[in-house]
Amino acid sequence: MGKSQNGENLGTDGVSDGGDEKNNPDELSSEPCFKFDQILKDVDQFIEKFDSGENNFTCIDQFLEMVDSEIAAYELREASAKFGLNMEEDASFFEVVKRLSTIIRRLEELPSDSGAASCVNRAGSAHHRAMLLSESEFRTLLDLNMDRNEGDPRSKTEEEFPYFSTESIAIMNQIASTMIFAGYEAECCIAYSGLRLKALDAELSKLSFENINVDDAERMSWESLEVEIGNWIHIMRHCTNNLFSSERMLCNSVFSEHPSIAQRLFCELATSLTMRLLNFPNALVLPRQYSTEKLFKFLDIYEALLDLNNMEIGNNLSAKEFVSETSMVQCRIGETAVSIFSQLENSIESDNAGRIPVAGGAVHPLTRYTMNYLKYACEYKDTLEQVFQKHNEMEELTVDKVPENYTEKDDRCLQASPFALKLMKVMDLLDANIEMKSKLYRSHSLRYIFLMNNGRYILQKIKESTDIYDMLGHSWSRKRTSELRRYHKLYQRETWSNVLQTISHEGVQVNGKVSKTILKERFKNFNALFDEILKTQSTWVVSDGQLKSELRVSISSVMIPAYRSFVGRFQSYFDNSKQAGKYIKYQPEDIEELIEQLFEGNTTSMVRR
């Protein structure tokens, strides 16, 4: 049934007497284009002039006949292809249906005895038929496109919606508007929600999402959980980056004339989907022994939830559910992260490794682990700040007591964030632990080497990460550095002061004369002490190159001149070179060389000479 471009030829203004030019009923099918417009005009008039008391329903009857045949024509067409063949035709169909809706509303206002009964009835039947047709086609379009897309070679970048053609969407839009106008909003929304939910479910399945029961999750091994977590995060990202926004767009496109309906439908869909996704993290927060390195997975989950929560999905009831459920899980995951991180403190405190000190005073594995852990953790600094801030708020703590070894001058400390304070606490514990471990060394020298090694390592690691450095504060680093210097001095004194005494110029003379006995004694002592140091301390380890050279340099700078001057001054007092050679084991150059062997971590057999 087509329409001509200019079908008007009679009663153009529509304001004539009664407005109905009754054509011969037999000629209904002839000149359909004129007739169509005329009927519409009559109907419009009828609607307008409705309250004038006298209503002639004949034009309605004519209209209804026309409607009936139009509907029949569309019904005959194949499903999923009912609309879209002729845009104008479709547009006119929807217009007609809309008019029908209006007529019915008007007619229903009439008292039941106005003789409109049969008219109403007929109109109502036609109306319902039209709605059936529309709904069925709506469903087919929504559903069919889903299936068709599997293996669809059409490039997705062309289309705004990968699964629907712009045509389909336009048609669905029309149908939706018509149905809603007709008072069939419920049917329309039920169909839409149901089919979209089905589509979203299929989407999730494609991403290998499967429901995991809380019960089952609790029993899974960490290895399996890790895989699921990875998958979950991937899916979450897909949701927040793509799925939700394209779904919203679809809602807005199909229900473009009804933004509040679009909003509500999207909100419900998003919430339904989210509830399903939140089950997994809820299962993860149930108590389990999570070792410290699991922290990062939880922070990843937290961040995914944060992104989800930040999506503005709306204001209605289901949106509130969405926000509250997501926030709750997010909070719990945050708490889990806090407790995992806090385990670090426990593991540091309880680490005493069977009271056996690390060989050679090297950097302790705990130091390495802790510092690397903190460094990695600070890559999640913002998230951790947030998590600890939240934790603090929940525990209603005021600003934590500032750790004692900070001066009041460091303002940053007093305003330190909860996470920064936590960090400082960890550092303090580590320090205390290192201090305790250093006491296991019987040799004081080794003790200081150990303290220097570990202290140095810590300092280096801090400097490598601006985040940690900033959180701990500048004065913290300065304090550390000066402490290292102190240990250095202590080491020097402890190890080398005795040696220096053997090559002191004082006390060599007796009664103004150089005593050969004393000299011999001195050299013997020097050699013994030096050999001992060499033997022992070459096996010690200073892994930090700079520290190592600093140590050697400071030793050399003291020892070599002292030895050189001693030897230079007193070697002539020996009887001959043979005797001298017996007591003067080392030349100054030798000393220099040998000092270079210190702290190499060599085994004794590797010590030269």
Binding site: E78, S112, N121, T140, Y184, N211, N279, L286, S339
Partner: protein
């Protein structure tokens, strides 16, 4: 005979043996000496038993038309939440003994049961969502037949009847479909989606893919079974032995009580609300010495009886409103089918009457479904919270 009348006993010491050791009479003799718990501890434990009993007496004393109604179910969950809260307080007040064996094992057992209940909560929420979908269909019927608030006194035309009938048929199918497992339904939905070509199939297709995609396995895995889960919750739920009670200073009792309450409440929820693989054959064995045992057993019996009634045998859920919804919609459907146009006054009156009945059910559901869902969520969250808290303090 060890009495159960210690609600209001005046001398805690002499009743000590009875309040904490609901043993057989011969066993009472060998345990006459006081347990040795602190007086406040005893009072606390006794009060707990009493509170639980009171609540369930309340729930059990309703007439049969109130049993398993939405308000009743809500009351049931409320009762559960209260019991749980009190239980939590008891554990908190007895933090130290709770860490010691055998109490730690008993608590761990309870916690496992509670975790299993989490999945039940999720499944129940899916069921509530299903009911909501049915509710939407009913609203269409009401809208079509003038049962909604903005209906004029118009006469009902054929079109409206057709609309109502379509919705009623959809509703009937939807309610029937839930008896299949969610899996079968899902498969059927998918397969029907593919075969849609000619319009002759479209009606079928239309019915099958009726937006019931929020199926009963939306939140739980496809193989999950409510029946199995209930059995797991009730697994090894045994009355504490005398030595256990002694060793735990009486604390074993509230643990057992809470476990029993959990089992019953979950069971009742599964009985009432549609969920995946809804089986009610769980072994209940609560010794009558406990003051709460009688009401719970009575409720259990009554609910079981209801489930066996002829017209409720195949119900997808025993919720009273589901029954009413099904009945009203069926009657209305039959009426609508039998109607000839134009309607005579008598028929029209009949229709309006049925519509009103349906409206009443619908209104009742509208009011209570949302809060019910919230409550179920609350149960979920409380259980999680208690578990995560537990770790901190234990």
């Amino acid at each position: 005979m060890p009495s159960t009348d210690y609600q209001g006993s005046s001398s805690p010491l002499t009743n000590l043996g009875r309040s904490f050791l609901p043993l057989r009479r011969d066993q009472v003799h060998s345990m006459e000496s006081p347990i040795g718990g602190s007086p406040s501890n005893e009072a606390e434990l006794e009060s707990f038993q009493r509170q639980v009993a009171d609540r369930f007496h309340d729930l059990a004393s309703v007439p049969s038309d109130e049993l398993l109604s939405l308000p009743w179910v809500r009351k049931l969950i409320d009762a559960f939440l209260c019991c749980q809260e009190e239980f939590r307080v008891i554990l908190f007040n007895n933090r130290t003994p709770v860490k010691k064996p055998p109490m730690d094992r008993l608590i761990a057992d309870y916690n496992e049961r509670a975790v299993k209940a989490l999945d039940v909560c999720n499944a129940i929420r899916d069921g509530i969502e299903q009911i909501r979908q049915w509710q939407k269909l009913i609203e269409i019927v009401l809208c079509a037949l003038g049962g909604d608030n903005n209906s004029y006194q118009r006469s009902l035309g054929e079109g409206q009847f057709r609309r109502a009938r379509k919705a009623l048929v959809d509703l009937a199918i939807a309610m029937l479909d839930e008896k299949d497992s969610g899996q079968a339904l899902a498969h059927r939905n998918r397969s029907f989606g593919r075969h849609n070509n000619s319009s002759s199939h479209s009606k079928d297709h239309h019915h099958r893919s009726l937006g019931h995609f929020r199926s009963l396995s939306w939140s739980v895995s496809r193989s999950w079974s409510a029946a199995r889960q209930l059995q797991a919750i009730g697994n090894n739920l045994a009355v504490p032995r005398g030595n256990e009670v002694l060793a735990t200073n009486g604390l074993a009792m509230p643990v057992y009580t809470m476990g029993s309450v959990l089992l019953f409440v979950m069971w009742a929820l599964v009985a009432a609300i549609p969920c995946q693989d809804r089986g009610l054959q769980v072994h209940f064995n609560f010794p009558r010495q406990f003051p709460w045992a009688a009401p719970i057993i009575s409720l259990h019996e009554r609910i079981l009886e209801e489930s066996k009634k002829r017209d409720r045998k195949n119900a997808c859920g025993l919720l009273r409103e589901i029954y009413q919804m099904e009945k009203c919609s069926r009657l209305l459907g039959e009426l609508a089918d039998s109607v000839q146009f134009p309607l005579n006054e008598e028929k029209e009156k009949e229709v309006k009457q049925r519509v009103n009945e349906l409206k009443q059910v619908s209104d009742a559901m509208k009011e209570d479904l949302e809060p019910l869902e919230k409550q179920v969520r609350e149960v979920f969250h409380r259980i999680v919270r208690n578990r995560t808290e537990g770790l901190d303090s234990l």
